[in-house]
Amino acid sequence: MSAWLPGPVLVAAGCGGTGRELEPYAGPAGLEGLDFVTRSITLDARQGGPGPRLVEVPGGVVNAVGLPNPGLEHFLATELPWLVRAGARVIVSIAGSTMGEYADLARRLSRAPGVAGLEVNVGAPDEVGLGLFEVREPYHSASVIAAVRREFPADRPVLAKLRPDVSRVVEGARSCHEAGATAIVIGNAVPAAFPDGRAGGLSGPAIAPIALRCVAAVHQALPDLPTIGCGGVRDLASARSYLTAGATAVQVGTALLHDPTTVARLRAELDPTRHPSTPTPSEEDA
C-alpha cells in the first residue's frame, strides 16, 4: 500500500504559525484541502530562543527561532484538532533529541485522528545548538526515518526533510528512501550566522538556487524518488523552476512573512484543473 503524495503547494514548517494565523490569508476555501506542515513539534514544550530571533539580510532572513512549540501533548489537545476542523491536510513536522524520541512521536501521532502524514526534521541548520539528534552521516538520518516508519502506517507519507547540501544530498536522499521515506523535502534553511556570529539558518530567495541544485541532483540520480522543493519559493516562476527540475511539489516558507497570501495565490496558479492557457495574475517582485 503506497502513501499519497502532498502537493503541489505546501506550507513549510514553522512559517504558517499554528495555522489559525494563516487562515485569513488562505483564500476563499480557507485551509480546506491545504497541505499544512506544522512547525516542528517536540515531545516536551520548548520556549524557543531569545530575541532577536530573526534578522533580515539581503535576499532573505537568518533565523534562530529555536523550535518554540507547546510539546506533543498540548499540540494534540489544541492545535491539531483545530487544524483538522479547518479542513487542512495536516503533516506534522517532528524533531527529537534521540532516535527513541522520534519513534515515540511517530507512534503517538499515528493514533491521533487527522494526522495525514509526518515530516521528519533531520536537517535543522543548528541541530547541536537545538539539542537535536545529530545527523552527520546519511545513515544517521536513515536510522531516524526507519524508526519513524516502523511506528507510522504505511498508507500515510513520511517525508524526510534534508539540508540543501549538494555534496551530501544525493546520498542522504537515497538512504532515507531505502529507510522508507515516501518523499524527500529539499531542504531546510542553510546553516548561517547572525551578524553577531550567533548560529542560525538562512532562508528566502537567496537559497533558492542552492536548493534547486540539490533537487536537480537528486532527481537525476534517483528519478523515481519524489522530491519536494523548498527554499525561496515566492511566485509561480520560482515554483516552476523546482517542478521543472523534477520536484513533485514545493513548500513555501519565508515568502509568507513578506506576503501571507503567497500560498493561496500559488495554489490557484498551480491548480491542475485550471486550463493551461489561463493567464496568470501578475507575479510579485520581491
Binding site: G14, T18, R20, G48, G51
Partner: protein, 271 residues
C-alpha cells in the same frame, strides 16, 4: 459586538493618498480596503517593502470612515532603516501592500473611570483614537505626549477635544516640561487619579508606566514594540516574555498575543 471573523485581518493593495512631513516624522494617509473598517485603537498594520523580506509594522494613528478616497488610515513614520526610508519616500499614488488590522487592541474599561495615556515619540499615535473611544464612554482622559525633542513630538492639538488634560514632555526641554516619562510618571498617575494607565513607546517608557500604575493599585495596558519580522503570527520571531494568567512564565508572540498586554504581566528583565 462584531463576530471575530469580521475582525480578521486582510492583506490588500493600499495606496498613498497623502504624505506630509511634520517635524521629524512623515504622516501618510493610505487607502487599504477593509483595514479602516476593522480597526480598533492599539491595532497596527504591516507593510511589505519591495525587495525586502520582512515587514515594517506601524501603529494606526487615525482612521476616517469616509473621505474623497473612501475609508483611509493614517500612519506616522520615522525614517530610520532601509524600510522606513523607502516608505517615507513613497509619493502620493504609490501602491503599498498592507496587512491589517493586526494585534490585540487596547482593552476598554466597562465603567467611566479615570485614564492616563502615556505615549513616547511616534508611538503616541495609537493613543489618539484610544482617547476618543474612552471619552465616548465617559472616561476622564489625561494624555501625556513625550519625546526626546520637539521634532519627534506628536502634536497634541487635536487630542485636546478628547482629553481633559494634556501634558507635553521633552527630554531636552525644547517644548513643554523638561524630562522623561520615567521622571514624571508617578506624579502624573497621582494627579490624574488614574484607575487605568495606557502606555505606548519604547520598553523603558512602558516599564515606568506599568510600575507607576502598580504602585497605586491601578491597572495598566502597555503596547509593546519588540521587533516583529512578519507581524502576522506566522514566524514566531517576536518573543515576549510574560507571566500567564495562571502564574506560569511563558514566551508569547508579541504580534498576536500582544502588542497590547497588561503591564503587570510583562517580565521586563527578560525582555
Amino acid at each position: 459586538m462584531c463576530m471575530p471573523e469580521a475582525r480578521a485581518p486582510v492583506h490588500v493593495d493600499g495606496e498613498v493618498v497623502a504624505s506630509k512631513r511634520i517635524g521629524g516624522y512623515r504622516h501618510l494617509t493610505l487607502t487599504a480596503p477593509g483595514v479602516p473598517e476593522r480597526f480598533r485603537a492599539g491595532n497596527f498594520v504591516a507593510v511589505s517593502v519591495a525587495g525586502h523580506v520582512t515587514r515594517r509594522t506601524l501603529w494606526v494613528h487615525r482612521v476616517r470612515a469616509s473621505s474623497a478616497f473612501g475609508p483611509t488610515l493614517d500612519v506616522v513614520v520615522e525614517a530610520r532603516g532601509s524600510g522606513t526610508a523607502w516608505l517615507t519616500a513613497q509619493p502620493v499614488g504609490a501602491k503599498v501592500a498592507i496587512t491589517g488590522p493586526l494585534g490585540r487592541a487596547f482593552a476598554l474599561p466597562k465603567e467611566a473611570v479615570s485614564c492616563l495615556l502615556v505615549g513616547e515619540g511616534y508611538a503616541a499615535a495609537p493613543l489618539f483614537p484610544l482617547a476618543e473611544r474612552l471619552r465616548e464612554r465617559g472616561c476622564a482622559v489625561s494624555l501625556v505626549v513625550s519625546a526626546p525633542d520637539e521634532a519627534r513630538l506628536l502634536s497634541a492639538l487635536e487630542a485636546r477635544r478628547s482629553a481633559r488634560s494634556v501634558t507635553v514632555l521633552t527630554a531636552d526641554g525644547s517644548v513643554g516640561q523638561r524630562g522623561t516619562v520615567g521622571d514624571h510618571v508617578d506624579d502624573l498617575v497621582r494627579r490624574s487619579e488614574a484607575d487605568v494607565v495606557y502606555a505606548a513607546g519604547p520598553s523603558h517608557v512602558l516599564r515606568a508606566a506599568a510600575g507607576a500604575a502598580e504602585r497605586v493599585g491601578a491597572w495598566s495596558q502597555v503596547a509593546v514594540e519588540t521587533s516583529m519580522p512578519c507581524g502576522t503570527g506566522l514566524c514566531h520571531g517576536c518573543p515576549l516574555p510574560v507571566v500567564g494568567e495562571d502564574g506560569v512564565d511563558r514566551v508569547v508572540r508579541a504580534c498576536t498575543e500582544g502588542p497590547v498586554v497588561r503591564g503587570d504581566r510583562v517580565r521586563w528583565d527578560d525582555l
